[in-house]
């Protein structure tokens, strides 16, 4: 079923919408959650929460891009669960790439009046200026939290090339954000 059809099912409050979403994007959701949580049980719960989130969001929302919408919900819910787990000092299987990102923009230097959405917009603008390969590798690493190895397999690069691309993209992004006045 195409995405439009699935959205129509949500609007019709037809529970088939969830089954169709699961069939089409369940594995994608699970991979996003698993990359963040590294725990099968937590990931499955996050995926289920994603479906509930979609059910509650559509309607009134009518996402122009359903796949990206699903990804965003799965990512946000997984990060929330991760944060809750971190507060409870739960240990997680594999550390995420947070340190690499914090190098770009440490929390303490971001002005309070700049919202996350504003920063996201600037990152989008920056990524559009990047070469397609660099852009996609960056998004895979820091949006989907793929391992360097998985990115290398996906794009058929060596791992060292992926690391090198990420290093230079991070450096350029940092420079760009400073230029755009995102820090104090």
């Amino acid at each position: 079923m195409n995405d439009q059809g699935i959205i129509e099912l949500y609007f019709a409050r037809d529970e088939l919408a969830i089954r169709e979403t699961e069939a089409k994007y369940g594995r994608l959701c699970h991979s996003i959650a698993y990359n963040i949580l590294h725990n099968s049980e937590d990931s499955s719960e996050c995926v289920n929460d994603t479906y509930i989130g979609l059910w509650n969001a559509i309607p009134p929302a009518r996402p122009s891009n359903f796949k990206a919408f699903v990804c965003k919900i799965a990512r946000n819910l997984s990060l929330k669960r991760l944060e809750a787990g971190m507060r409870q000092k739960r240990s997680w299987g594999t550390p995420l790439s947070f340190d690499e990102l914090e190098e770009i923009l440490p929390d303490e230097i971001v002005t309070d009046h700049v919202g996350d959405e504003d920063i996201g917009k600037l990152i989008s603008d920056f990524l559009r200026r990047e070469k397609e390969d660099s852009r996609n590798v960056f998004v895979r690493r820091y949006y989907f939290f793929d391992s360097v190895r998985d990115i290398a397999l996906r794009y058929l690069f060596t791992e060292s090339k992926v690391k090198n691309m990420l290093y230079h993209t991070r450096a350029r992004l940092k420079k760009y954000l400073i230029k755009e006045g995102i820090e104090l």
Binding site: M1, N2, G5, G26, R27, L28, H30, S31, Y34, S40, S44, S64, N65, K67, A68, F69, C71, K72, R75, N76, L79, L82, E83, M86, R87, F98, L101, E102, I104, L105, P106, D107, V110, D116, E117, I119, G120, K121, I123, S124, L127, R128, E132, D133, R135, N136, V139, R140, Y142, Y143, F144, R149, D150, A152, L153, R154, Y155, L156, T158
Partner: protein, 348 residues
């Protein structure tokens, strides 16, 4: 510990950037081979498939046209002569249990038309119109012939639709019920690593390695039809499997597109058979007939062409089909689907 703000901020990047990264960019074969030692699992399957299949090494160029290009000389059609349903057109066959009360008797002109849609020969037949349960007659109805025509039965109910009707999935059977799935294994990634029933007595391994293969799964959609006659209950399938690929590319004969409809609920405008080949399984227990198609779909104003690879198998006169649509890199998906069918084995 908190999630850094930049991590949350990245959640707001634009949709097209996210989607751009959900596709796979595959480099040339040399890169594959250079990476052969590292690319385990799914990627290894690809390398093996590429190595074993010279045909697949020919690159992304178009396939040579199939010699027996389809030329539809004539097709059977029918039209209700007068009354409220006279503008309705014939469509698929619908199961009898979906049919409700009889509405009226009608006279029908049936017969053969040429490629331009002009009648070549006609016969006048009596028929009955029925309602379809849960569907208003403004959307669709069912027709059963009382007199047998040359190419229609008196035992089946044919859906009739008003002009420009949207084909509605609710009036078709749920083909998912005819696609049994048998997973033997589960991994941390879920039910992604197992065997599926294929054919009368066999099975194929659909996902070879779960780890790191999520993107592979996203690259294609596949459908298994273990008995084509369940879809074509009103028609006689070709006697020879060699005739099936061309038979399924007919988009003109009423109801012939049911197979395509069963795979995603879309009706193609044209189905072009590009090539056929015989593929033997690795253990020699089965033989598939492979057909590649270009399928043109008009989904509203959104017209597109899809690439399909379809593998046919015959066992005791029953046709089974493994159909794969490539969402992304066609060459990769072709090699991957080939590795799937080559895994075919008799069920233990």
């Amino acid at each position: 510990m908190k999630i850094p703000r930049i991590v949350n901020a990245l959640g707001y990047i634009d949709d097209d950037l996210i989607l751009g990264a959900t596709g796979a960019r595959l480099s040339n074969r040399n890169t594959w081979l250079k990476w052969g030692s590292l690319a385990a699992g799914v990627l290894l399957v690809l390398v093996i498939a590429l190595t074993l299949s010279p045909m697949l090494l020919s690159g992304d160029g178009p396939q040579p046209p199939f010699d027996g290009e389809i030329v539809m000389e004539k097709y059977y059609d029918y039209a209700i002569i007068e009354g409220a349903f006279s503008s309705y057109m014939g469509a698929n066959v619908i199961p009898a249990d979906r049919v409700g009360n009889k509405l009226q008797d009608v006279a029908v002109t049936a017969g053969w038309k040429n490629r331009e849609g002009d009648w070549i020969s006609t016969e006048e037949l009596s028929a009955e119109i029925y309602e379809i349960k849960g569907i208003g007659t403004a959307e669709a109805a069912a027709l059963r012939f009382v007199e047998k025509g040359e190419a229609v039965t008196t035992t089946h109910y044919y859906v009739i639709l008003p002009p420009n009707a949207e084909y509605n999935g609710t009036i078709f059977p749920d083909y998912k019920a005819e696609n049994p799935v048998r997973y033997l294994e589960e991994s941390d990634m879920g039910k992604c690593n197992g065997w599926q029933d294929f054919g009368l007595t066999g099975e194929i391994r659909t996902i070879t390695v779960p780890v790191g293969s999520t993107y592979v799964y996203q690259m294609y959609s596949y459908y298994i039809r273990n008995d084509l006659s369940t879809i074509y209950s009103a028609e006689s399938l070709p006697d020879a499997i060699e005739d099936l690929p061309e038979w399924l590319s007919d988009t003109v004969t009423v109801g012939r597109r049911s197979f395509w409809y069963s795979m995603g609920g879309r009706l193609p405008q044209t189905v072009t058979l590009k090539s056929t080949a015989v593929v033997s399984t690795e253990n020699g227990t089965g033989t598939f007939l492979k057909a590649e198609y270009a399928v043109r779909i008009a989904d509203g104003a959104n017209e597109r062409e899809e690439d399909w690879v379809i593998y046919f198998m015959e066992e005791d006169g029953t046709y089974s089909v493994f159909a794969v649509m490539a969402n992304e890199n066609f060459t990769f998906v072709k090699s991957y689907s080939e590795s799937i069918v080559k895994s075919y084995q008799k069920k233990p």
